[in-house]
């Protein structure tokens, strides 16, 4: 199709992939090249091999197979009607790039996505072909993340899961209304069905492993790093509450490992009705914090929303602190007696700090000085805890508690 040199294609097709927030290369099976005598390993924990000046880690070669697309989603730089420069890699070219980069220890593996060309099935087949060549012809043991093409045949999804460590299907926008207005060709039910087939594929593989005959080889693992999704924040009118509602439904329905929230960032050649603003990075950050509270801290969505107003999270302070300020009657918490679940609700205490506290207090009463060794944020914790040598007194209920934590109002720069 295109006779562009590799370097130019790489520039176009990596640029087109930079809006996807996911980067993880962790949580897969432990695998290395000593048996296969090929190249590549995964050891559970992913490695960030570099960092871009936008603070985001570079763990995988994140590119599109092509940025041609028959869809016309308005938030997307690659939509059919966009005037962006187009390019297309052959599967072999992607394989060569991946191996060249991997052997120099630049990357943990490949994150391959694509614009939709010809049909969903054709595009999905092309993505699978790249993974197949890497795994079968080159005994590549590194990490592979394939973007599934929503609407592709479930048989293709099942095949993709045999080669990939992770599969992901982007929901794109958090609400049905947003999707139908910005991406009329993308159907929410198609996206959900594709996610469902990933979950069914994983469950079938587990079932097959359980029911195998003794002595028979284990059937291949299906996408051992699970599935994830991404939604764009700030392009449409969805509120944080809507976003978290969608996230909780997705977590429960499709056993997602991660939901990525991607602040809408202005794209060149934008559609007229999109906000040409700075990406709402703080909002994105607060959503990730709220997501963490849902998954690791035992919070319900409705509780997180107690600290919000009008369905939007507080941008000045983190969601756990915002919740605690609304629920002061629950504090202070006794560090030496409170159960784990309650400690997890103390602003400033993370899961690791809580684990350390629970372990350390078995061997003796914890005092304020001890706490400094177990958590980095003693100052933040003070109004919410009790130790033998510390009581917050009126601090917990003081009216200016929020002001203690919120960043000071900034003097706006004057234009000269």
């Amino acid at each position: 199709m295109s006779a562009k040199p590799i370097l130019e294609k790489l520039a176009v097709l990596a640029d087109a992939a930079k809006y996807d927030a996911s980067c993880a290369s962790s949580g897969t099976v432990k695998r290395d090249s000593t048996q296969s005598k090929g190249i590549g390993s995964t050891e559970g924990m992913g490695i960030c091999h570099s960092y871009a000046p936008d603070g985001r880690c570079i763990s995988l070669l994140k590119i599109l197979l092509t940025n041609f697309c028959i869809y016309d989603c308005r938030f997307c730089i690659n939509r059919a009607s966009s005037n962006v420069e187009r390019a297309r890699f052959s599967p072999q070219e992607v394989v060569t790039l991946t191996l060249d980069f991997y052997k120099r220890n630049y990357i943990e593996g490949l994150f391959l996505s694509s614009g939709i060309i010809r049909s969903e099935d054709y595009t999905m087949e092309q993505l699978i072909e790249v993974a197949r060549i890497l795994r079968e012809e080159h005994r590549f043991g590194g990490y592979i993340h394939l973007k599934t093409i929503a609407g592709a045949d479930p048989g293709l999804i099942a095949l993709a899961g045999l080669y990939a460590d992770r599969l992901s299907t982007n929901v794109e926008l958090p609400t049905e209304a947003g999707l139908s207005s910005f991406a009329p060709e993308k159907k929410p039910e198609t996206i959900r069905k594709t996610m469902a087939s990933v979950r069914v594929g994983a469950e079938d593989a587990i079932e097959a492993a359980k029911s195998r005959l003794i002595g028979k080889a284990m059937p291949p693992r299906f996408a051992p790093a699970g599935q994830s999704t991404q939604m764009i924040v700030g392009a449409d009118a969805a509120r944080d509450d809507d976003i978290l509602k969608t996230a909780t439904n997705l977590y429960s329905g499709y056993q997602l490992r991660r939901v990525y929230y991607s602040a809408y960032s202005p794209i060149p050649d934008a559609s007229r009705d999109l906000p040409p603003v700075r990406p709402p990075l703080m909002r994105e950050h607060r959503l990730y914090q709220a997501d963490w509270l849902l998954r690791f801290y035992g919070f319900e969505r409705a509780e997180i929303m107690e600290g919000a107003s009008g369905g939007m999270l507080d941008l000045a302070i983190d969601p756990k602190l915002a919740w605690a300020l609304q629920r002061r009657e629950a504090f202070p918490v006794d560090i030496n007696r409170a159960p784990r679940e309650l400690l997890l609700r103390v602003p400033g205490l993370g899961t690791r700090a809580v684990d350390r506290i629970v372990a350390a207090r078995r061997l003796g009463k914890l005092r304020l000085g001890d706490l400094a060794k177990l958590t980095a944020s003693v100052k933040k914790v003070l109004p919410f805890i009790v130790t033998p040598d510390w009581r917050p007194g009126k601090l917990t209920d003081s009216a200016d508690l929020r002001a203690r934590f919120a960043p000071p109002a900034e003097q706006l720069a004057l234009a000269l």
Partner: protein
Amino acid sequence: MREVVLAEPGDFAEWRSAARGLLASGVAPEDVSWRGSEEGASLFGDETVGAPAGAVSLPRELLEIAERVICHRDPEVPARLYRIIWRAARDRQLLARTTDAEVDWLRKADKAVRRDVHKMHAFVRFRRLGEEAGRESFAAWFEPSHRILRLTAPFFQRRFYGMDWAIVTPDARAIWKNEALTYGPGGTKGEVPGSDVVEDQWRTYYGAIFNPARVKIDAMRAEMPKKYWKNLPEAQDIAPLLAGAEARVERMREAAVSLANPLTDKWRTRVPDELLLDDDVKTLGDVARAVDRCTRCPLYCNATQGVVGEGPERARIMVVGEQPGDQEDLQGRPFVGPAGQVLNEALEEAGLDRTRLFLTNAVKHFKFEPRGKRRLHQNPTTGEIDMCGWWLDKERAFIQPDLIVTLGASALRGVTGKSASIKSMRGATHELEGGGKLIATIHPSFLLRLPDRERAAEERAMFVADLIRARELAA
């Protein structure tokens, strides 16, 4: 005062054999002085390594930590480590005393070494030397903060088994060749090629994947400290990328929205499929397509798909359940989950062939409440059942069954439009408006929820009896 001279700083085996001897001979930490060999020869050299008087057991975790911490460049490390194992031999709980000052130091030193190991895994950059007999060889120069080469080399061995490589550091080098890992003396940067053929591609990628609209320099520097930059080929591009970022964003913002690409229509081969209107539902197949796009009630928002009935169009018996469950929602077929299993067994026992029945639900979309990683089934409201009755009626109209078996109260409501109790309806056969007969029984999921075994067996027998009656009625 005993004096121990360590010939090779960072060598765990050497430190361990010295420490083991001291510990076994009961030499207290304050009576030992640890020195590196570069600090000059010792007066009391070998005096320390006495014969172990007895095995001293230490927690395995402590030894694992010590093996890492010995690589730390702090010259105090051998002595501090000895003090800790001295204490640990007397206090099995020592490592758990995270508030103890020395344990705190140990944890922090360990963390620093582990971080350095992690950064080395990440930031080593191989450069290609050449290829011989189909096997490529590479070399890398790296300057770790601590003496961690031996901790990291096995990682590279596992990862790059299929190629030859060497990593040169100021302290030592690791070489992987002929499927063997060996170590040698430290070296200089000059021993490794100054560039690589794919470095331009890598730098192109680095520049392209950076989003100029989200500059966050501090986040980058926290994870990729400047001290590593001089050996990372992409790092030379950081300054120019940052310098150009603002202008790139500005250009994006100012760029007038251009006209649609003229090729748009050529690429867009399809139009979005049109919504099926109620009047367009002319066959059973249309029902399936239309239900999937049904937005009559809000249940469609969270369910995966609409699940319609399944079975031959000439089925004499139609079995109606409540709504799809978790598995039905994922697979798009009725009665494939746990309740479906119960139903299958009961049908078989009653002598009914599932493939000859038309199985469907009163409500076509799954209603649930998300709870962590699970979806809890929620009963549909009568409003939802009545709304969805439109589809059930369509299915009935196409199948025209002689007999309808309703499973549970929701199904009964869906078929009759009335909320009667199953108890009052059960055991009799009812004539349906518009033709056909009705048998009302319980939903198989009811059997799954009964904790009392005896009661469950009783209920199950009654359920099978209802199905047998259905078989006889339709015969």
